[in-house]
């Protein structure tokens, strides 16, 4: 399992990378492995507001649905529309396949670094 050190992580298995005031958000390798084959994604739209700790969409595997929780509050400035037709990119390239970009970032959830997140995953089993 891969835990890139340039990212920060949530307990609900999203990753976050902040560049020039824009937060890039995706789901972790651990998350995609636990969910299994992803077959569908519900995405928000550019301009929508997101709140830290609240759902901004969901991903569905063959077996179940899982909510996507935003680590930050702000306004969505980009959505990875490639995922609509190819949600499996989240399985094959979880750290390349970002889901949304958020600007005007205000609140942040409690975030972990790679080592802390790895420990969190180990705890979950």
């Amino acid at each position: 399992m891969n835990y890139p050190t340039d990212l920060r992580y949530t307990k609900s298995h999203e990753w976050l990378k902040e560049e020039d005031g824009v937060a890039v958000i995706g789901i972790t390798e651990y998350a995609q492995d636990a969910l299994g084959d992803l077959v569908f994604i519900n995405l928000p739209e550019v301009g929508d507001e997101v709140c830290a700790g609240e759902s901004f969409g969901d991903v569905e595997s063959v077996k179940a649905v899982s909510e996507l929780i935003s680590p930050v509050s702000g306004v969505i400035c980009a959505v990875n529309e490639e995922l609509i037709d190819a949600p499996e990119l989240l399985n094959t390239d979880p750290y390349g396949a970002w889901i949304i970009k958020v600007e005007s970032v205000a609140d942040r959830e409690e975030l972990m670094d790679a080592a802390a997140y790895e420990a969190h995953c180990a705890e979950e089993g």
């Binding site: 084959d37 077959v39 569908f40 569905e60 063959v62 077996k63 649905v65």
Partner: protein, 882 residues
Amino acid sequence: MSQLKRTQLYDLHVAAGGSMVDFGGWEMPVQYPTGIVAEHLYTRHFCSLFDVSHMGRLLVSGPQRVEFLQHVLSSNVLALELNEAQYCIIPNETGGAVDDAYLYRFEADRYLLVVNAANTEKDLVHLRRELAHYDCTLTDISKEWAAIAVQGPKSKELLTQMAGGVQLTELVKNALNTVELEGRLARIAKTGYTGEPLGYEVYVRSEDAAWLWNRLIALGAKPAGLGARDTLRLEAALPLYGHEMGTDPSGAEIPIFAVPLAKFAVSFSPLKGDFIGKAALEKQYAAYCRIREHDFSDLTDLPKRIMPIALLDRGVMRAGMPVYQGETQVGWVTSGTMVPYYVAEGERLATHYTDETAKRSIGLAYLYSPIQREDHVEIDVRGRRLKAVIPHYHMRVDAPPFARPIIYQAPEQPVPAAEENRRVSALELLKNATQNHIWRQKQCINLIPSENSASRAVQLLCASDPAFRYAEHKKITSFYNQEIFYYQGTKFIEQVESLLVEQMKQYLGASEVETRVISGQMSNMAVFSSLMDWKNRLRRKNTPERLGYILHNNILKGGHLSAQPMGALHDYVAVDPITERSAVVSFPVCADNPYKIDVEATKEVISRYRPEFIIFGKSMVLHKEPVAAIRQFVDEQKIPTTIMYDMAHVLGLVGDYFQKPFEEGAEIVTGSTHKTFFGPQRGVIGVNYKEDELKYGLWKTIESRAFPGSVSNHHLGTQLGLLMAAYEMNTFKDSYQKAVIENAKHFARCLKAEGLDVAGDPAIDYTETHQVIVRVGYGLGYEVAERLEQNNIIVNYQATPEEEAFTASGALRMGVSEMTRFGFTKDDFAALAAIMADCILRKQDVREDVLRLRQAHTVMQYCFDDAEMEEALAAFLGTIGL
């Protein structure tokens, strides 16, 4: 997870990286590292293995095993022959399902009942309570025997390879067999839970389970988990207990007849007597019938039904989501997810699956009974209303070897017809017809064994004046049985018909002949109708009884449509009250030669079923039919029956070089006049009954079932042509028939020498008829036949007795009669064999070679071609179209 049960294959699942979950108290793989989507697709495209050893395997034996099973199951256990299985439901008293199950009869005196893993304990309690009243035993053999489902288009090939080439089971669904797989005992069932048309469930002793699993993986199969098993069964719309059976989301019991499969699983045969839930099921069935008739006045016993459902909007439906029509909730989704499929390209038989995959959101739903296919509904997906439709089906399995996804398409709207210049169309028709005639008569090598070309005289006669006339006639006893015609202007055709009857009597060696039937299939239907009428002749005040048992050649073993319940027998064959299926039984074939009837096994079948009607003849025909041996047997055994030989394919071979049907003991011969015979497309019926015999009455019935039973107008143009053909055949048959059979044998030998896989017995040069069968590889028949057609060689792709359906055909069926008529010699067939090998094996373009060979032979042989005939023909041609 320590208290969970483990199957014989547990260690292999863990070693393969399976994600193990609790499934009904068993620790089972939900998926392997490749994932559910890949596992689903691999099953549809190649072959997957599923560990189904968690399911309960219960052996039922003892003197009252049948009575017990009839009482606790929904199905008719007596309908199960040895080596057959049936889907069934274990009903409760209120018509709900305790469980659904499969009943297998691998052994004559024991039944194997396989039930759902999660229900096994509950089932055992239920069954043991009933067992107390019966003298039989129920033994759980789940520990001694393991079960592996081998599913997908390659499953047959892999298992057949392990069985050393032995045919695994009969080709039909639910067939069973006990075989050795590389020396180890295996019980094989052509059953499964994936919807695959090729799929098996294999039972082996526990100690052989890991070995079989690993061997199949070494041969290319891959393991698949419960996740893929669920998406596959959902795509096949197969019910799952706990979703489509049991209780609905409101807690109410789902009636058994809500499940479409119930109509197969439930029997009300009097042989079952009273059984658990019967009264409730009868009410449900009555409601089911009303609903099918669109009478929705009383839905009490069947308020909802399980139906397929497909999402039109983007999203995923899940079990438990409410379904709405307008503001009214009409039911729930019972199973739903996103299912992957391979994208298809091309049309009809050229359809093939690309590497590209896609996904669709489909499910099953428990819906208000009046809802129909193509109805639009909405699904509440977590607060959002998504549009959905009730499709006819999610997948079809009638074109093996693939299960074919049916992606929902809205019904097409009719397009208004465009303005058309019909004069231009008419001109084009003439040009195209001219081109087609030249192509077929001068450029193609036609090897379709059910076709022939007629001489010029026959062709022209068919197109002349009588083609547009009527000549109905009937024998009237008041006039000493003279033929009375209903129309004027018929003296010429009357003479033609009586001459034709005489020529056909001579040819067949028949005492009586009927020539008014206009096709081979019509000939058979007229005979079937006559036999039924004859059978009921002393019971005119009752509804006539149908025929049964009938012994015939099964279509899967080369039999023709015109002797199948789904073909010409449809309205004449009875239903056996025990099996609840058509009362036909098929000729057994030799284990080492599926093209040949096994005479000794046939005698056993005749002794058991005492068929009232025996139909010889088939369309994939390499051998003489054993008419004499069977005639002798039924006479010795004093079995009252009627023996008919449908000689459709071999009518032109009647005689010394093939068979003389009446001399061998047939009573009735039917045929079509355009296959090996020289005529246009018509039928003929001949009998050998004499006027002083009781069965002469059957002949009189045949006449009346021909006219007015089958035809009013009996197509006088082709009748005229047929008389000329009969003159030709009776004159030239000796040389023609000898040449046909010699050519067929030589062609077969040459094809074999060229490296092709020729079917049949090499000891008789593969064939005793005009036909030669070449195997080109499972499922490749159409592709090769299409390539040959592009090279002007016309053959017939066919399924061999080892193949399930024409879509899986791996053989070319060829006949030499037409080319023999155009003068092909043995040398020409040797040259043709070499050309075909180039085209089939080396995919070479052989068009030039074909044209060269064909154009050396464009003059029709075995017909009258002297100067006087030519002159008369020219004069006749000048009159046509005047």
